[in-house]
């Protein structure tokens, strides 16, 4: 039995299960909730299985079709992949539970197939070691994202979804052109082989530029973030949560993966550019968030600024160590948990009051204490205050920045934290006061309140789990090797 568990193809299961679940939920619309929840739970269990396997055996490697690179496609899982799969499973589970009560039957029939296929796409993305295969998974994630974003209907949601579709298609095309250039430079699309074969030639540079631009657009790195606020703010709450917490991170993961394995040694100057854009994103996103009068728009702009933090790692990683990379992984994790919790909270507040005007939250703290509590806890992580996952990430990143004497980064991180506190406490302050116009609030189902709280609590709790999580991150030593190899 033990052998069976460690030898099982958890990685493959992680891809096939949600895809199959998606098809089933499309075929049997009346059972979507059951199929959906069962699938997501099974996926979460498989992640645990994969984790157990990786801890025992190191990396997971699977040659699809038995061909192996360069002819075939390889699946590959190391600590970083596992980490992302874990984030996806955690957030996915929380949001799925929330979605049980959020959607009515008709919306649920449309939501679950899309979400399960999205989950399959995300898992496939994190497990892929092939840049063309990554393109296909990006398309799955992108189209599912657009479908989900337009789910709630209405002008604003459609407008947001349209922007999102344009951005994601353009990003995919840029990425694909880069892939084409890399293929014709090295005769392979397998990441490890590319890492061996690529030299610093004009086509490789062009590919680097295109891939970075495409992925930066999908990740909404300033100034390519223009599509994000509307798309994320106008979607329905569970969808916003998934988009902000997971979908944006998927393209960032590819960015990180390619950087770690292919581009890192060939990129003088690009890393500083990315760092500068990251800094601009932090400041600009936070300032925009501070000015918003709508809660969901504020949270969406907060995502823009939080994405900025992720990109600060590139200038640091040039001579960086494990801690720079683990910092960014930590930020991804805690932001995913906290931001999904925040969007779910926003969903609760909209359900409760019928609007998301920050100034009219109208004593929400009395009437929805769990929801507001979830917002506050998630906010703690977003602000980077201890004890929280966000703090650990920020601490590691600050440490590294100081270590390398990058005062500009330190300065921006401090400002970013203070600005984040400003916009989060703006909301909390208004949650205590009475609105000038009050109206009869609608009750919020307990499941929706508690799932938001659980995600927020998770964002805090990961602040205490740094040691085990870094152990996971170190599996396969991709991250560590890159640090040491510089």
């Amino acid at each position: 039995m033990g052998d069976l568990l460690t030898d099982a193809h958890w990685g493959v299961l992680l891809i096939l299960l949600p895809l199959f679940g998606g098809l089933c939920s499309f075929l049997w619309p009346s059972a979507v909730k059951f199929i959906g929840l069962a699938t997501v739970s099974a996926v979460a269990l498989s992640v645990v299985g994969l984790g157990d396997q990786l801890l025992a055996t190191g990396v997971y490697h699977h040659a699809v079709g038995g061909w192996g690179a360069p002819l075939g496609i390889d699946l590959y899982a190391d600590g970083l992949s596992l980490f992302m799969l874990m984030v996806t499973a955690l957030v996915g589970l929380g949001v799925s539970i929330y979605a049980l009560d959020y959607f009515d039957q008709d919306e649920a029939r449309r939501f679950w197939p899309l979400w399960l296929l999205l989950l399959g796409g995300l898992n496939a993305l994190f497990l892929s070691a092939d840049i063309f295969n990554l393109y296909v998974t990006l398309e799955i994630v992108g189209l599912a994202g657009v479908g989900l974003a337009s789910l709630s209907g209405g002008g604003a949601a459609l407008d947001g979804a349209m922007r999102y579709l344009m951005a994601t298609l353009l990003g995919s095309l840029c990425y694909l052109l880069g892939v084409a250039l890399l293929y014709h430079s090295a005769g392979t699309v397998d990441i490890p082989l590319l890492a061996e074969r690529l030299e610093s030639t004009p086509p490789v540079w062009a590919a680097l530029g295109l891939i970075c631009a495409g992925l930066a657009l999908k990740t909404a790195l300033f100034p390519l973030h223009f599509w994000l606020p509307k798309a994320h703010a106008s979607a329905s709450a569970p969808v916003s949560a998934l988009l902000s917490a997971l979908v944006v991170k998927a393209s960032f993961y590819i960015f990180l993966r390619l950087w770690l394995e292919i581009f890192s040694v060939r990129t003088e100057g690009v890393d500083d550019l990315l760092g500068a854009l990251g800094m601009a994103a932090i400041i600009w996103g936070s300032l925009q968030a501070l000015q918003q009068t709508r809660l969901k728009l504020m949270i969406a702009y907060s995502t823009v600024s939080q994405v900025g933090y992720l990109f600060l790692v590139f200038p640091l990683a040039a001579i960086g160590t494990f801690s720079a990379w683990s910092a960014v992984a930590y930020l991804v994790l805690s932001h995913a948990l906290a931001k999904s919790a925040m969007f779910l909270v926003a969903g609760n507040l909209m359900h409760f009051g019928g609007h998301d005007r920050i100034a009219d939250l109208d004593r929400a703290v009395q009437r929805l204490p769990i929801t507001v509590g979830a917002f506050a806890l998630a906010g703690v992580s977003i602000m980077g205050l201890p004890p929280s996952g966000g703090f650990i990430g920020k601490w590691l990143l600050l440490n590294e920045a100081l270590n390398q004497g990058r005062w500009d980064l330190v300065f921006v991180m401090m400002i970013g934290g203070v600005l984040a506190a400003a916009y989060i406490f703006k909301v909390l302050g208004f949650a205590f006061t009475q609105a000038p116009v009050t109206h009869e609030p609608k009750g919020v189902p307990a499941v929706m309140e508690w799932s938001a709280l659980l995600l927020a609590v998770a964002a805090i709790v990961v602040g205490f789990l740094a040691s085990p999580l870094m152990l996971i991150l170190g599996i396969g030593e991709t991250v560590e090797l890159m640090g040491a190899g510089q």
Binding site: Q366, L385, L398, N399, V418, A422, F432, Q434, S467
Partner: protein, 499 residues
Amino acid sequence: MNWHAWIPLFVVVSSLLPGLIIFGLPEERVGWRTLLNLTGAVIKLLLVSWMIWGVYQGDHFETRLALLPDLDLVLRAGPLSLFFVALSTILWLVTTVYAIGYLEGSPNRSRFFGFFSLCVTATVGVALAGNLITFLLFYELLTLATYPLIVHRGTDTARRAGQTYLRYTIFGGALILLGTVWLYQLTGTLEFTPRGFLSQIDPQHYPALKIIFALLIAGLGVKAALFPLHGWLPQAMVAPAPVSALLHAVAVVKAGAFGIVRVIYDVFGVEFSADLGVTTPLAWIAAFTIIYGSLRALFQDDLKRRLAFSTVSQVSYIALGVAIAGPIATIGGVVHLVHQGLMKITLFFCAGNLAETLGIHKVSEMNGVGRRMPWTMAAFTIGALGMIGAPPVAGFISKWYLGVGALEAGQDWVLLVLMGSSLLNCAYFLPILYSAWFKPTPKSWPEEHHFGRQETAWALLLPPLITALMALAAGLLTGLPFSPLEWAKIIAEREFYQP
């Protein structure tokens, strides 16, 4: 099982757990809430007594949990931490009783007491923190836990006061974070060590260390209300009286002052900071704040605002005592941590009683109030006299040691500051006492409530009496083994003489 490794954690948990449970209690379960609150407070008191006894006998209490691969969360009971823990534990118990009486029948009490407990948890954590990152963690938690208490009333003024409070404290927290990370970069450790852990450092880092010192002290100075970072404190007066009492005497302001002591003693070391030349500016700032706070207090008609500015002034005695950098002044500064707490909490309790019972909020409304509420005003008088520094109340002891210590350290100018401040204290407290006791009683009070035969409710009356008595006792019984003064001497010894 090694109990010594867990008790510091239990002390923290003993208020955290009741707090979390109270959040979940329905509003009307008053009995359960009271029971939880008091049980937590009593258990904490017992645990703290155990630790005090143990430390007195040379035992070692330390909880260590991994936070990052090379950085731990450390809770450790040393003389200095226990000093502060004991203060906050005792005053929490008293304040809880007071708050139960004060908030009777008002809405959202579960939330209030939940955050109240969190607030004490954070304070105890600040006190027990064994390294700078643990300190930072609880210090920020304290900010977060006090915010809902300040905006508790949910009015627009409360919200704005909350925003102001955050603007200051978040900024301060950021400075401390920066200082902490930087320090960690330079030294690779953040562990609090008697006489500091920096004296071996390469002199080329001295300029950086000066900036770090400034960052840390500025960050802590926000909560300790050092000029010019005190602006939030008077505004935060919109909170209910128990909150003000807690903020001023135990939690927030004290955490800042305590942090200053910590940083100077256990991070930089008194001698090293004196060598670095950073204590003199601090002493000047503290001295200025003392005078400035007193002057501002003089012109406040609102009683709570007058007390608030008095706090601004009084807390800086602590920073001053430590910054003078002599052993005797240190005793004065450290012991004031407790003395000021006892006296100021008494004053706030009394102010709360006046507001609750008679609707008095202003100094000008206090004529003859001593005849209507003699017990309350007796406690108030003890507190006020202590603030002035009149023997035999505890405040006298602090000022005496500060003065002698300053002379011993050759800083004679401090004496002028002390005298000036005492005069100003007289100027803003004595008129209150005069009008309360000797001016005629008005025909009616602004908003009078009756509580049977007593002048006010028992739960409101007992706490100020107890704390006033403790302030008296701390001044009278200085020779007893566990008196604040004796304990402060132990702390100073540990800091100044090699074991």
